[in-house]
């Protein structure tokens, strides 16, 4: 803080690669996407996508920093959407009950994931793959049982609509963008400023040593799993309120999209390294790439290829930066 500026110190931050990547992508689409891409309405287009993805990507990224993975978010998005729609749409109960139920289910699934990961030594990829399928099955089975349909409408009015599923700032930006910015600020505080964050990094670096150092690793694992699945349920719930309807299908794309954003954001898949700001940049980068293509004249059929190449490029760049970080020595003349 009080030090003078140093390029070395900047380059070895986890978000350095992500920031560069974001910059490159912005320039690219500013050139090929034309002026609409950077107008407020164009910006809103990728910010909205980034917001929905980002609310899930940050807690997922924290899990990855802590050395775990959560695939089940892919089922939690439709679960959250369906819960609020069934309770407040199908049964017509107050919207707050639907919201509370959606979030509670997020907490419950998170607890189940956390419990299974802690008790059995099974890798969390496998555990959450299991809960992914199980939750998908529950959502489908219960929805059809209750509503005889796989698509449920929901009409929301008043405060809840404004808070969770409306457009703000000139009617272009989803209110989710505000949630995303607020949550990101909170996460930055907790992960990088409060002591709590240090624990997450320590856990991802070496779980046994972290426990021996007095960190409550089991409780922390629980908290992180609850955070990620509740966030996914929250996003699903907000989407249902915004789009006035929920489908049983979908949400699976969030799994890979969030992982890509996190990795592009400079988090190490094996744990112990990363930053919230990096994930934030990674999410925006991903959103720009997937949305930016609609502003260009490229053939839409190539978008998957572009996403794949972007991912590989970003990962290689992050790798380079991480090596720089490790071999960094403060003095130029120093031995």
């Amino acid at each position: 803080m009080s030090r003078t500026f140093s390029f070395g110190a900047l380059a070895r931050r986890p978000e350095a690669g992500a920031a560069l990547g974001l910059f490159a992508v912005l320039i690219f689409f500013a050139i090929f996407g034309g002026v609409t891409f950077l107008k407020p309405s164009g910006m809103a287009s990728w910010l909205n996508v980034a917001a929905n993805l980002g609310v899930i990507a940050i807690p997922l990224g924290l899990l990855m920093i802590a050395g775990e993975l959560d695939i089940s978010v892919g089922a939690m998005v439709p679960f959250g959407a369906m819960t609020v729609s069934v309770i407040s749409g199908h049964y017509g109960l107050p919207i707050w009950m639907g919201i509370a139920a959606a979030l509670s289910f997020g907490v419950i699934v998170g607890l189940v994931n956390g419990f299974l990961v802690i008790r059995t030594a099974v890798p969390s990829l496998i555990v959450t793959l299991g809960t992914l399928f199980a939750v998908q099955g529950i959502v489908l089975g219960l929805t059809v049982l209750i509503t005889k349909s796989t698509s449920v409408a929901l009409k929301t009015e008043g405060v809840a609509k404004v808070m969770f599923g409306d457009f703000v700032l000139g009617g272009q930006m989803q209110v989710m963008v505000l949630w995303w910015l607020g949550l990101t600020a909170l996460y930055v505080f907790f992960v990088h400023l409060s002591p709590f964050g240090n624990w997450v990094f320590a856990m991802g670096g070496d779980k046994v040593s972290a426990r021996n150092a007095g960190i409550p690793t089991e409780r922390l694992t629980m908290v992180l799993f609850v955070l990620s699945s509740t966030s996914a349920a929250f996003v699903g719930m907000c989407q249902a309120i915004l789009y006035n309807s929920a489908q049983v299908a979908g949400g699976q794309s969030f799994i890979f999209n969030a992982i890509i954003s996190v990795v592009v954001g400079g988090v190490l898949l094996t744990g112990g390294f990363g930053s919230v700001i990096g994930i934030f940049f990674g999410t925006i980068t991903f959103a720009i790439v997937t949305q930016g293509i609609y502003y260009t004249d490229f053939d839409r059929n190539w978008s998957s290829l572009i996403i794949g190449v972007l991912l590989l490029g970003a990962v290689l760049m992050n790798n380079t930066f991480r090596k720089m970080a490790l071999s960094y020595a403060p003095k130029k003349g120093g031995k």
Partner: protein
Amino acid sequence: ADIAVIGGSNDDAFWNIIKKGIDDATPGVVANGGSVNYLRLVNYDNFAPDVVQLIRTAISMEVDGLVIPNWVPEAEDPAIKDAIAAGIKVILMNAGGADKATELGAINYVGSDEYVAGLAGGEYFGKGGQKNVLCINTLPGASNTEARCKGVIDGVTTAGGMGAQLPLPTTSFGDATAVAEAIKAELLKDESIDGVITISAGDADSAAIAVDQAGKSGKTLLGSFDMNQAGLDRIKGGTQAFAIDQQPYLQSFLAVSLLAAHIDFGTDLPVFPVLTGPGIVDASNIDATLAGVAKGAR
């Protein structure tokens, strides 16, 4: 008669209405000592092989009758022929058409046709004066969704307009915001787009927001294939122009009843093929439709 019906994915709303038709036809079959087994795809990821696998499964169950959509003729035809050779009576439903039924030796065809349904949608746009229509395909590469969009484009083109397909990458499948923002981006980029149609009812929820966000409500008409409650609410409220309905309830209800009667009693329906659609739901018939929806049949 023991009857197997093959249908689309579990989480596909359309195929749950089909299920309602089957469920309503089942008591009649059971009353005559038969059974109905509804075999459904788990997902559309490995489409043709999975469908054929289901046909083979049905054959192995030694059913008497088979109701099957002929989605991928090249792949399914040999299996359907095997079924008929094994003495199973077949009705094509939902996809295939009369010519195909005759060619294969199926006893009838009940349904509409993805392409014909698309054509009807395109013509509806054409009649409304729409000149530039975008067909949103969130499952590019799957033959049924491709046929829908192709029909729309052809329909608009014959009516003197033009159309294009927007294939979305798998990264946006199931993410309502990503779909909405993609549509909005296209609308912003190309001011002349005055019609949008989505391949599923759920995507229309996103498209409605996209049209609104692009500031083109009233200027850009929205249509969808299939329908859900939210879509019908929009039609009633005037923010969506129409939905193309194949009346799936009729397809399965009629197919199962006709087939069971044919096997059990030797009846034959002189109507060939039995077309259940496409029906267009718009402001003119929305109230009757909503009544049917409440009962899970539309």
